[in-house]
Protein backbone atom coordinates (compact mmCIF):
# COMPACT_ATOMS: atom_id res chain seq x y z
CA UNK A 1 0.00 0.00 0.00
CA UNK A 2 1.43 3.41 -0.90
CA UNK A 3 2.31 5.86 1.86
CA UNK A 4 -0.45 8.16 0.66
CA UNK A 5 -3.01 5.57 1.77
CA UNK A 6 -1.73 5.37 5.33
CA UNK A 7 -2.69 7.73 8.13
CA UNK A 8 -0.73 8.05 11.37
CA UNK A 9 -2.43 9.50 14.44
CA UNK A 10 -0.01 11.06 16.91
CA UNK A 11 -1.78 11.49 20.24
CA UNK A 12 -0.25 14.39 22.12
CA UNK A 13 -2.06 13.92 25.42
CA UNK A 14 0.13 13.11 28.41
CA UNK A 15 -2.56 10.73 29.68
CA UNK A 16 -1.72 7.14 28.87
CA UNK A 17 -5.24 6.33 27.69
CA UNK A 18 -8.78 7.64 27.57
CA UNK A 19 -8.00 11.24 26.69
CA UNK A 20 -10.25 13.52 24.67
CA UNK A 21 -7.42 13.91 22.15
CA UNK A 22 -7.19 10.16 21.69
CA UNK A 23 -10.93 9.69 21.31
CA UNK A 24 -11.24 12.45 18.71
CA UNK A 25 -8.26 11.17 16.75
CA UNK A 26 -9.42 7.56 16.95
CA UNK A 27 -12.84 8.50 15.62
CA UNK A 28 -11.18 10.26 12.69
CA UNK A 29 -9.04 7.17 12.03
CA UNK A 30 -12.16 4.98 11.98
CA UNK A 31 -13.71 7.27 9.37
CA UNK A 32 -10.53 7.12 7.28
CA UNK A 33 -10.45 3.36 7.62
CA UNK A 34 -13.92 3.18 6.05
CA UNK A 35 -12.44 4.98 3.05
CA UNK A 36 -9.82 2.31 2.58
CA UNK A 37 -6.94 4.07 4.33
CA UNK A 38 -4.63 2.06 6.58
CA UNK A 39 -4.34 3.61 10.02
CA UNK A 40 -1.96 3.57 12.96
CA UNK A 41 -2.05 5.30 16.34
CA UNK A 42 0.94 6.28 18.49
CA UNK A 43 1.13 8.02 21.88
CA UNK A 44 3.84 10.62 21.63
CA UNK A 45 4.83 10.84 25.30
CA UNK A 46 5.29 7.13 25.85
CA UNK A 47 7.23 6.79 22.58
CA UNK A 48 9.65 9.51 23.58
CA UNK A 49 10.50 7.68 26.82
CA UNK A 50 12.98 5.40 25.05
CA UNK A 51 15.29 5.42 22.03
CA UNK A 52 13.50 2.39 20.62
CA UNK A 53 10.20 4.24 20.97
CA UNK A 54 11.56 7.23 19.06
CA UNK A 55 12.97 5.02 16.29
CA UNK A 56 9.69 3.15 15.97
CA UNK A 57 7.71 6.41 15.91
CA UNK A 58 9.90 7.86 13.16
CA UNK A 59 9.59 4.66 11.10
CA UNK A 60 5.80 4.94 11.31
CA UNK A 61 6.04 8.63 10.52
CA UNK A 62 8.10 7.96 7.38
CA UNK A 63 5.70 5.27 6.17
CA UNK A 64 2.57 7.43 6.47
CA UNK A 65 1.20 9.87 3.94
CA UNK A 66 -1.27 11.54 6.30
CA UNK A 67 -0.02 12.77 9.67
CA UNK A 68 -2.62 13.72 12.27
CA UNK A 69 -1.65 15.46 15.49
CA UNK A 70 -4.40 15.35 18.12
CA UNK A 71 -3.46 17.10 21.34
CA UNK A 72 -4.81 19.08 24.23
CA UNK A 73 -4.04 22.76 24.59
CA UNK A 74 -1.43 23.28 27.30
CA UNK A 75 -1.01 26.91 28.39
CA UNK A 76 -2.09 28.27 24.99
CA UNK A 77 0.29 26.05 23.04
CA UNK A 78 1.26 22.46 22.30
CA UNK A 79 2.11 20.12 25.20
CA UNK A 80 5.82 19.76 25.93
CA UNK A 81 6.03 16.21 24.55
CA UNK A 82 4.56 17.37 21.22
CA UNK A 83 7.08 20.22 21.18
CA UNK A 84 9.86 17.71 21.73
CA UNK A 85 8.64 15.53 18.85
CA UNK A 86 8.48 18.54 16.54
CA UNK A 87 12.06 19.43 17.48
CA UNK A 88 13.19 15.85 16.76
CA UNK A 89 11.46 15.75 13.37
CA UNK A 90 12.81 19.15 12.43
CA UNK A 91 16.39 18.19 13.38
CA UNK A 92 16.19 14.87 11.54
CA UNK A 93 14.65 16.00 8.26
CA UNK A 94 15.78 19.66 8.17
CA UNK A 95 13.25 20.57 5.42
CA UNK A 96 15.27 18.63 2.84
CA UNK A 97 12.22 17.69 0.82
CA UNK A 98 11.82 14.23 2.35
CA UNK A 99 8.44 15.12 3.84
CA UNK A 100 6.92 16.84 0.84
CA UNK A 101 4.63 13.90 0.03
CA UNK A 102 3.08 13.96 3.47
CA UNK A 103 0.07 15.99 4.57
CA UNK A 104 -0.56 17.12 8.10
CA UNK A 105 -3.74 17.81 10.01
CA UNK A 106 -3.70 19.22 13.53
CA UNK A 107 -6.51 18.95 16.06
CA UNK A 108 -6.28 20.91 19.30
CA UNK A 109 -8.83 20.68 22.11
CA UNK A 110 -9.18 22.67 25.31
CA UNK A 111 -11.36 22.82 28.39
CA UNK A 112 -12.04 26.52 28.00
CA UNK A 113 -15.39 27.40 26.44
CA UNK A 114 -14.10 29.19 23.35
CA UNK A 115 -12.43 27.17 20.59
CA UNK A 116 -10.41 30.26 19.62
CA UNK A 117 -8.07 29.58 22.55
CA UNK A 118 -6.58 26.89 20.32
CA UNK A 119 -5.56 29.43 17.65
CA UNK A 120 -1.96 29.88 18.80
CA UNK A 121 -1.42 26.12 19.12
CA UNK A 122 -2.79 25.58 15.61
CA UNK A 123 -0.51 28.36 14.37
CA UNK A 124 2.44 26.55 15.96
CA UNK A 125 1.48 23.33 14.17
CA UNK A 126 1.13 25.18 10.89
CA UNK A 127 4.51 26.84 11.36
CA UNK A 128 6.04 23.42 12.08
CA UNK A 129 4.51 21.99 8.90
CA UNK A 130 5.88 24.87 6.84
CA UNK A 131 9.38 24.64 8.28
CA UNK A 132 9.66 20.87 7.79
CA UNK A 133 8.12 20.72 4.32
CA UNK A 134 4.91 18.94 5.33
CA UNK A 135 1.83 19.96 3.35
CA UNK A 136 -0.63 21.65 5.65
CA UNK A 137 -4.07 20.06 5.38
CA UNK A 138 -5.68 22.21 8.06
CA UNK A 139 -6.21 22.76 11.77
CA UNK A 140 -9.29 22.06 13.88
CA UNK A 141 -9.88 23.65 17.28
CA UNK A 142 -12.37 22.37 19.85
CA UNK A 143 -13.56 24.12 23.01
CA UNK A 144 -15.52 22.56 25.87
CA UNK A 145 -13.51 19.35 25.48
CA UNK A 146 -14.68 17.86 28.82
CA UNK A 147 -18.18 17.56 27.39
CA UNK A 148 -16.96 14.40 25.69
CA UNK A 149 -17.05 13.20 29.31
CA UNK A 150 -14.15 10.82 28.80
CA UNK A 151 -16.01 8.66 26.31
CA UNK A 152 -15.28 7.63 22.73
CA UNK A 153 -16.93 9.99 20.25
CA UNK A 154 -19.31 7.33 18.95
CA UNK A 155 -20.55 6.67 22.49
CA UNK A 156 -20.81 10.30 23.49
CA UNK A 157 -23.96 12.22 24.01
CA UNK A 158 -25.72 13.68 21.01
CA UNK A 159 -24.38 17.06 22.15
CA UNK A 160 -21.23 16.34 20.16
CA UNK A 161 -22.95 15.87 16.81
CA UNK A 162 -21.11 18.91 15.41
CA UNK A 163 -17.82 17.28 16.32
CA UNK A 164 -18.82 14.08 14.51
CA UNK A 165 -19.93 16.02 11.43
CA UNK A 166 -16.71 18.02 11.43
CA UNK A 167 -14.62 14.86 11.54
CA UNK A 168 -16.64 13.37 8.68
CA UNK A 169 -15.82 16.39 6.51
CA UNK A 170 -12.19 16.23 7.58
CA UNK A 171 -11.93 12.53 6.75
CA UNK A 172 -13.45 13.16 3.32
CA UNK A 173 -10.91 15.89 2.62
CA UNK A 174 -7.92 13.87 3.81
CA UNK A 175 -8.98 10.81 1.81
CA UNK A 176 -9.49 12.99 -1.26
CA UNK A 177 -6.09 14.66 -0.97
CA UNK A 178 -7.72 18.02 -0.23
CA UNK A 179 -7.45 20.67 2.45
CA UNK A 180 -9.95 20.39 5.31
CA UNK A 181 -12.91 22.64 4.40
CA UNK A 182 -13.97 25.71 6.35
CA UNK A 183 -17.24 23.93 7.17
CA UNK A 184 -15.31 21.33 9.15
CA UNK A 185 -13.36 24.01 11.01
CA UNK A 186 -16.53 25.99 11.84
CA UNK A 187 -18.45 22.94 13.04
CA UNK A 188 -15.61 21.87 15.31
CA UNK A 189 -15.38 25.37 16.79
CA UNK A 190 -19.11 25.78 17.41
CA UNK A 191 -19.97 25.86 21.15
CA UNK A 192 -21.76 22.68 22.15
CA UNK A 193 -23.79 24.43 24.87
CA UNK A 194 -24.06 28.12 25.85
CA UNK A 195 -20.90 29.45 27.50
CA UNK A 196 -22.77 30.59 30.63
CA UNK A 197 -24.05 27.05 31.16
CA UNK A 198 -20.66 25.46 30.56
CA UNK A 199 -19.01 27.85 33.02
CA UNK A 200 -20.78 26.31 36.01
CA UNK A 201 -19.16 22.91 35.39
CA UNK A 202 -15.90 23.69 37.27
CA UNK A 203 -17.93 24.86 40.29
CA UNK A 204 -19.90 21.60 40.26
CA UNK A 205 -16.67 19.59 39.94
CA UNK A 206 -15.08 21.45 42.83
CA UNK A 207 -18.15 20.91 45.01
CA UNK A 208 -18.02 17.20 44.14
CA UNK A 209 -14.36 16.99 45.18
CA UNK A 210 -15.05 18.67 48.52
CA UNK A 211 -18.01 16.42 49.26
CA UNK A 212 -16.02 13.34 48.27
CA UNK A 213 -13.20 14.42 50.58
CA UNK A 214 -15.62 14.98 53.46
CA UNK A 215 -17.22 11.58 52.96
CA UNK A 216 -13.85 9.81 52.80
CA UNK A 217 -12.54 11.76 55.77
CA UNK A 218 -9.64 13.21 53.79
CA UNK A 219 -8.83 15.99 56.19
CA UNK A 220 -5.40 16.64 54.72
CA UNK A 221 -6.90 17.47 51.34
CA UNK A 222 -9.45 19.82 52.88
CA UNK A 223 -6.62 21.64 54.60
CA UNK A 224 -5.00 22.28 51.26
CA UNK A 225 -8.20 23.84 49.93
CA UNK A 226 -7.81 26.70 52.39
CA UNK A 227 -4.42 27.69 50.99
CA UNK A 228 -6.00 29.31 47.99
CA UNK A 229 -6.85 32.41 50.00
CA UNK A 230 -3.47 32.76 51.69
CA UNK A 231 -1.68 34.74 48.97
CA UNK A 232 1.30 32.48 49.48
CA UNK A 233 1.68 28.99 48.16
CA UNK A 234 2.05 26.19 50.62
CA UNK A 235 5.63 25.18 51.25
CA UNK A 236 4.54 21.81 52.57
CA UNK A 237 5.00 18.68 50.60
CA UNK A 238 1.78 16.84 50.02
CA UNK A 239 1.23 13.20 50.81
CA UNK A 240 1.28 10.83 47.87
Amino acid sequence: MSARRKALLLVGSNKAFGSTSEYIGTHLLSLLSLKGIETEKIHIKSSLNSEEGVVSLLESFESAGIIIFSSPLYIDSTPSAVTRLMEIISERYKNDGMLQDKRMLAISNCGLPEASHNDTALAVYRCFAGKTGLKWAGGLGLGMGPLLAGRPVEKSFSLVRNLRKSLEFAAGALAGNAVVPQESISLMAKPVIPVCLYSIIPALFYAYVRIACLIRGCKMKLKQLRFKKSGEPSGNKLPA
Partner: protein, 190 residues
Protein backbone atom coordinates in the same frame (compact mmCIF):
# COMPACT_ATOMS: atom_id res chain seq x y z
CA UNK B 1 12.35 42.96 44.32
CA UNK B 2 12.75 39.36 43.23
CA UNK B 3 13.33 38.13 39.70
CA UNK B 4 13.21 34.54 38.48
CA UNK B 5 14.94 33.69 35.20
CA UNK B 6 13.98 30.44 33.44
CA UNK B 7 16.31 29.71 30.55
CA UNK B 8 15.12 27.16 27.99
CA UNK B 9 18.35 27.12 25.98
CA UNK B 10 19.77 23.95 24.44
CA UNK B 11 23.19 22.49 25.27
CA UNK B 12 25.05 24.33 22.49
CA UNK B 13 23.00 27.50 22.53
CA UNK B 14 25.77 29.84 23.68
CA UNK B 15 24.01 32.95 22.37
CA UNK B 16 20.95 32.43 24.54
CA UNK B 17 23.11 31.55 27.51
CA UNK B 18 25.00 34.81 26.91
CA UNK B 19 21.74 36.79 26.78
CA UNK B 20 20.63 35.12 30.02
CA UNK B 21 23.88 36.12 31.66
CA UNK B 22 23.51 39.73 30.56
CA UNK B 23 19.91 39.90 31.82
CA UNK B 24 20.96 38.46 35.17
CA UNK B 25 23.84 40.90 35.63
CA UNK B 26 21.79 43.93 34.53
CA UNK B 27 18.97 43.08 36.92
CA UNK B 28 21.45 42.53 39.76
CA UNK B 29 23.01 45.96 39.01
CA UNK B 30 19.56 47.45 39.53
CA UNK B 31 19.25 45.81 42.95
CA UNK B 32 17.01 42.95 41.90
CA UNK B 33 17.41 39.71 43.83
CA UNK B 34 17.89 37.30 40.94
CA UNK B 35 17.55 33.55 40.79
CA UNK B 36 18.31 31.85 37.49
CA UNK B 37 17.74 28.31 36.24
CA UNK B 38 18.89 26.55 33.08
CA UNK B 39 15.88 24.32 32.51
CA UNK B 40 17.66 21.44 30.75
CA UNK B 41 19.74 20.96 33.92
CA UNK B 42 16.69 20.70 36.17
CA UNK B 43 14.82 17.48 36.84
CA UNK B 44 11.27 18.33 35.78
CA UNK B 45 8.79 15.83 34.43
CA UNK B 46 6.16 16.62 31.81
CA UNK B 47 2.76 17.58 33.18
CA UNK B 48 0.61 14.48 33.66
CA UNK B 49 -2.64 16.22 32.73
CA UNK B 50 -4.25 14.69 35.81
CA UNK B 51 -5.75 17.99 37.12
CA UNK B 52 -4.89 17.01 40.69
CA UNK B 53 -3.64 20.59 41.10
CA UNK B 54 -7.25 21.69 40.64
CA UNK B 55 -9.05 18.87 42.43
CA UNK B 56 -7.28 16.69 44.99
CA UNK B 57 -4.37 18.98 45.88
CA UNK B 58 -5.39 22.52 44.91
CA UNK B 59 -2.49 24.82 44.09
CA UNK B 60 0.16 22.10 44.17
CA UNK B 61 1.36 19.52 41.68
CA UNK B 62 1.46 15.89 42.83
CA UNK B 63 4.75 15.21 41.06
CA UNK B 64 7.69 15.14 43.45
CA UNK B 65 10.38 17.02 41.53
CA UNK B 66 11.81 20.50 41.04
CA UNK B 67 8.62 21.73 39.39
CA UNK B 68 6.94 22.31 42.74
CA UNK B 69 9.78 24.57 43.95
CA UNK B 70 10.04 26.51 40.71
CA UNK B 71 6.32 27.30 40.66
CA UNK B 72 6.58 28.42 44.28
CA UNK B 73 9.47 30.74 43.34
CA UNK B 74 7.47 32.03 40.38
CA UNK B 75 4.57 33.15 42.53
CA UNK B 76 6.89 34.63 45.14
CA UNK B 77 8.74 36.69 42.49
CA UNK B 78 7.94 40.16 41.19
CA UNK B 79 9.35 39.42 37.75
CA UNK B 80 9.47 36.28 35.65
CA UNK B 81 11.96 36.22 32.77
CA UNK B 82 11.58 33.49 30.16
CA UNK B 83 14.40 32.83 27.69
CA UNK B 84 13.89 30.49 24.78
CA UNK B 85 14.84 29.76 21.21
CA UNK B 86 11.65 30.50 19.27
CA UNK B 87 10.50 27.00 18.34
CA UNK B 88 7.85 27.16 15.61
CA UNK B 89 6.60 30.30 17.34
CA UNK B 90 6.54 28.69 20.76
CA UNK B 91 8.86 27.75 23.60
CA UNK B 92 11.59 25.14 23.49
CA UNK B 93 10.83 21.73 25.01
CA UNK B 94 12.97 22.41 28.08
CA UNK B 95 11.08 25.60 28.90
CA UNK B 96 7.66 24.27 27.88
CA UNK B 97 7.94 21.48 30.47
CA UNK B 98 7.95 23.99 33.31
CA UNK B 99 5.41 26.30 31.62
CA UNK B 100 2.98 23.36 31.46
CA UNK B 101 3.48 22.78 35.17
CA UNK B 102 2.27 26.31 35.95
CA UNK B 103 -1.39 25.31 35.81
CA UNK B 104 -1.71 25.20 39.65
CA UNK B 105 -1.32 28.98 39.89
CA UNK B 106 -4.84 29.49 38.52
CA UNK B 107 -8.15 28.04 39.62
CA UNK B 108 -10.43 25.82 37.54
CA UNK B 109 -13.20 28.45 37.59
CA UNK B 110 -13.77 30.82 34.69
CA UNK B 111 -13.88 34.60 34.58
CA UNK B 112 -14.75 36.65 31.55
CA UNK B 113 -12.06 39.06 30.44
CA UNK B 114 -11.61 41.02 27.20
CA UNK B 115 -14.45 39.07 25.62
CA UNK B 116 -13.30 35.57 26.38
CA UNK B 117 -12.93 33.21 29.31
CA UNK B 118 -9.85 32.68 31.39
CA UNK B 119 -9.17 30.91 34.66
CA UNK B 120 -9.53 32.86 37.89
CA UNK B 121 -6.61 33.83 40.10
CA UNK B 122 -5.58 31.50 42.89
CA UNK B 123 -3.15 33.88 44.59
CA UNK B 124 -3.33 37.57 45.41
CA UNK B 125 -0.15 38.52 43.55
CA UNK B 126 1.41 37.48 40.25
CA UNK B 127 4.75 38.41 38.71
CA UNK B 128 5.18 40.63 35.68
CA UNK B 129 6.78 38.83 32.75
CA UNK B 130 9.46 39.33 30.14
CA UNK B 131 9.75 36.81 27.34
CA UNK B 132 12.96 36.82 25.34
CA UNK B 133 12.95 34.78 22.17
CA UNK B 134 16.00 34.02 20.08
CA UNK B 135 15.61 33.44 16.35
CA UNK B 136 18.06 32.33 13.69
CA UNK B 137 17.01 35.13 11.36
CA UNK B 138 14.08 37.28 10.29
CA UNK B 139 10.95 35.14 10.37
CA UNK B 140 7.80 37.24 10.59
CA UNK B 141 5.50 34.21 10.92
CA UNK B 142 7.33 32.69 13.90
CA UNK B 143 7.78 36.08 15.55
CA UNK B 144 4.09 36.92 15.22
CA UNK B 145 3.05 33.58 16.73
CA UNK B 146 5.56 34.01 19.57
CA UNK B 147 4.33 37.50 20.43
CA UNK B 148 0.70 36.38 20.37
CA UNK B 149 1.53 33.37 22.55
CA UNK B 150 3.28 35.51 25.16
CA UNK B 151 0.36 37.96 25.17
CA UNK B 152 -2.13 35.15 25.77
CA UNK B 153 0.03 33.53 28.44
CA UNK B 154 0.43 36.86 30.22
CA UNK B 155 -3.32 37.55 30.19
CA UNK B 156 -4.26 34.01 31.23
CA UNK B 157 -1.66 33.97 34.00
CA UNK B 158 -2.69 37.39 35.35
CA UNK B 159 0.64 39.14 34.74
CA UNK B 160 0.21 42.82 35.68
CA UNK B 161 2.75 43.81 32.99
CA UNK B 162 4.54 41.91 30.26
CA UNK B 163 6.90 42.55 27.40
CA UNK B 164 8.28 40.43 24.56
CA UNK B 165 11.71 40.90 23.03
CA UNK B 166 13.07 39.02 20.04
CA UNK B 167 16.80 38.76 19.44
CA UNK B 168 18.60 37.32 16.41
CA UNK B 169 21.64 35.04 16.38
CA UNK B 170 23.49 37.44 14.12
CA UNK B 171 23.29 40.32 16.60
CA UNK B 172 26.58 41.47 18.05
CA UNK B 173 27.20 41.13 21.78
CA UNK B 174 27.49 44.90 22.26
CA UNK B 175 24.11 45.42 20.61
CA UNK B 176 22.55 42.73 22.83
CA UNK B 177 24.00 44.33 25.96
CA UNK B 178 22.61 47.70 24.93
CA UNK B 179 19.12 46.32 24.30
CA UNK B 180 19.09 44.38 27.56
CA UNK B 181 20.25 47.44 29.47
CA UNK B 182 17.38 49.49 28.06
CA UNK B 183 14.92 46.72 28.79
CA UNK B 184 15.97 46.25 32.42
CA UNK B 185 16.03 50.02 32.92
CA UNK B 186 12.43 50.24 31.67
CA UNK B 187 11.30 47.36 33.89
CA UNK B 188 12.98 48.75 36.97
CA UNK B 189 11.32 52.14 36.42
CA UNK B 190 7.90 50.52 36.08
Amino acid sequence: MKALILNGSGKDDFKLQFIGGVVESQLALRSWQVESFIMREINIADCLGCFSCWGRTPGACVLDDAGFEIIKKEIQSDLLVLLTPVTFGSYSYHLKKVIDRMLPVVEPFFANSLGYSRHKKRFSKYPSAIAIGLMDGEDPESEAIFRELIKRNAINNHCPNFTTEVFFRGEKEEQIKERVELLTQKISQN
